[in-house]
Symmetry: C2
Subunit: 402 residues, 2 copies
């Protein structure tokens, strides 16, 4: 059984929490001063742990183990959603650091912008597997304020740095620890989830074009109200999707922006962010077909035209049977009866790394299931248990003693 | 027939258009530097026209005629919606100025914030009839950025100035010229509309409270999605309102703000601006009753609670028969067969002035019906014709020769 200093692990997590504090959470948008401060903090911690630390041209922070292999790669992301929680991403990065501290032959990586502040999504973990072109980087903009990715990289001091690539031959697998971001573990009274697969997110934008007009002078018969078309289309999705979805599919409208957004003006355009998630490609394709039918039907009926724009479509990833066996064995040894297999409803960097390496993920409970919100939290006891199970699982997987 | 220098009238309109230019329109939010510059411009123009110019503690700009009565009051507003048109409000103010220039005994007023940048609505024309309390001013905030009204008045240099009141004994009536903000005149090939009454706007806020959560970790069964509740409620309003509305009722959702508004976060709250308009109190009350029923039904069915907040409820106003006769006579003399009676679907300062004086309004066509948008426009020919009909109508009304 491997020895882990869980006090120091928790202390490092709390130290990182003080960078960009927002209420009890943190605010570290990708490439913001707070985010860059957290990346520099991580590089210092890597060096203390004996790793060779570097940062690349997309902001990935990498800590390379100096010793003999076979190696593991471990990590997650360090930036956060806006005004969000202290553990999402940070937990997996600090846990990876403590695998190395515990003497395991582990390279640590914090992948840039898992949270998708910039168009394209997962630009850090996609870059490191060779799936991010220079052309896509030229096009990508910040989703909130429109800043070009190139400008953000330049302002963060990253422009011109080479982008690193994973050498698959160096690694036996990839490990990512993460909070569950749901209530399944908490509801069942469990401490650890061994992830079986990661859903893919298919993200869309609905761009609806009507005619901006005065809300009094324009009769109901004359108006082309982009907001009303959005409401009708979203209500149709709400009615239709249960007929095509799977048992654990989710779909979410995160933003409805009416322009200009004033009380007395008929909206001229509506901009809607809509996504769905599933682990099955067939299910994802069925949901896309339903969405396309509903948009087509809306365009037949409505006076405002809806353009369906594909923002990104990820591939669902299954976790590796060998890594899962190692983690299950570790969980049963350390937390007997307090763990379960489960899919991940959220997207994670591991789904990209899965294209070049066997991957595994370990979940710890989220209190109240709250995530992407500053109130996100996990008990110290569960954090420490997750860290111990991750380390023991990594040890077992490396030694082949599953 | 009164003599009007329509070239100079158009020239003044174009001069005002250069203050806060946005594309072919203007951007002069209430108490912004651009708005205050336009108010100072107007005071200079009033003085040139021989009027005694002043500005009061709510930003109303007033030009008092020095000669004998009976007097008329005329005017409109000078601030604009954000990035909106050059004629909305400005037309009625400049037209009033040219009534005075033409030698008519007219006081000119530009009422502050007809466009409702600040909570409460119509604070200028309500202040001047004594319907705006100090307490309401203490509470009112900018609807876009939350700035307290008191702070905005202080920054504009208006704090501490007395607020003027209309002396009803001084006036025989009030005249307001305005663009139609619809397509009725254009569609019928007409140049002038004599307004019969002004709709009241009943403005509401729907505040929906759910639970912010991660869009992947939270199953469809667990989530409390404030945005989805908003969509369902607005779809129910869309289905139900045609059953209770009148022939020319309108209802509009101008804003749907989901918080935090990101792709992968289930919205924790939704903030919706909803309004309806009609000239009939009975119809307005029936629409309110329907809205309350639908919110009650939503709260019974949904997992997110909706609070219905009354923002403001105006009183519909009918135009004065005497002023209407004068304007009809002038229209038939100057534009025979090219005018009609019509209600105003938009709210106007005249609806408040109607509580203390006989009022009338004159409409000119809006090209394509576009308003509250920078593309708003009216042909020079229609603007000049409207100005001539307004002046001749005012002359006839003053002389009693309808």
């Amino acid at each position: 059984m491997i020895n882990i200093d869980t006090d120091r692990f928790l202390q490092d997590l709390h130290e990182l929490r003080r960078i960009g504090t927002f209420r009890t959470g943190v605010h570290r948008p990708t490439y913001s001063p707070q985010d860059m401060e957290s990346r520099r903090w991580l590089m210092r911690k890597m060096q203390e742990a004996g790793l060779e630390a570097s940062i690349d041209g997309i902001g990935n922070v990498f800590g390379r183990h100096a010793g003999e292999g076979p190696h593991l790669l471990a990590g997650s992301h360090i930036e956060t959603q806006n005004e969000a929680g202290w553990l999402d991403g940070a937990l997996g990065v600090v846990a990876a650091l403590h695998l190395a501290r515990a003497g395991l032959p582990v390279d640590v990586c914090a992948f840039a912008d898992e949270e998708g502040h910039f168009e394209g999504g997962f630009i850090g973990s996609r870059s490191i597997i060779g799936d991010l072109s220079e052309e896509e980087m030229d096009r990508s903009r910040n989703r909130y304020d429109g800043t070009p990715l190139r400008d953000a990289l330049r302002d963060a001091g990253l422009a011109g740095l080479p982008r690193m690539r994973i050498d698959p031959a160096r690694y036996k697998g990839f490990f990512e620890m993460h909070i569950e971001q749901g209530t399944q573990l908490e509801s069942a009274g469990l401490q650890v989830g061994v992830v079986t697969g990661i859903v893919a997110i298919w993200q869309w934008q609905l761009r609806i074009t009507g005619q901006q007009d005065h809300a009094g002078g324009t009769t109901m018969a004359e108006r082309r109200d982009a907001g009303l078309t959005a409401v009708r289309l979203l209500a149709a999705i709400d009615a239709e999707f249960p007929r095509v979805c799977g048992e654990r599919s989710t779909w979410t409208t995160g933003r409805i922006a009416l322009d200009p957004g004033a009380a007395s003006i008929i909206p001229g355009t509506a901009d809607v962010l809509f996504q769905f998630r599933d682990v099955s490609m067939a299910r994802l394709e069925a949901m896309e077909a339903a969405l396309r039918r509903l948009v087509q039907e809306s365009n037949r009926r409505e006076r405002c035209h809806t353009e369906l724009v594909e923002v990104h479509k990820a591939t669902p990833a299954l976790c590796d049977p060998g890594t899962m066996r190692a983690l299950r064995g570790a969980a049963e040894a350390l937390a007997p009866g307090k763990w379960q297999d489960m899919p991940s409803g959220a997207g994670h960097d591991a789904q990209n790394i899965a294209r070049v390496l066997p991957v595994s993920m370990l979940f710890v409970p989220s209190i109240g299931g709250i995530s992407h919100h500053w109130a996100e939290n996990t008990s110290d006891e569960d954090l420490a248990m997750g860290m111990r199970v991750l380390a023991e699982g990594a040890r077992r997987y490396l030694s082949g003693s599953n």
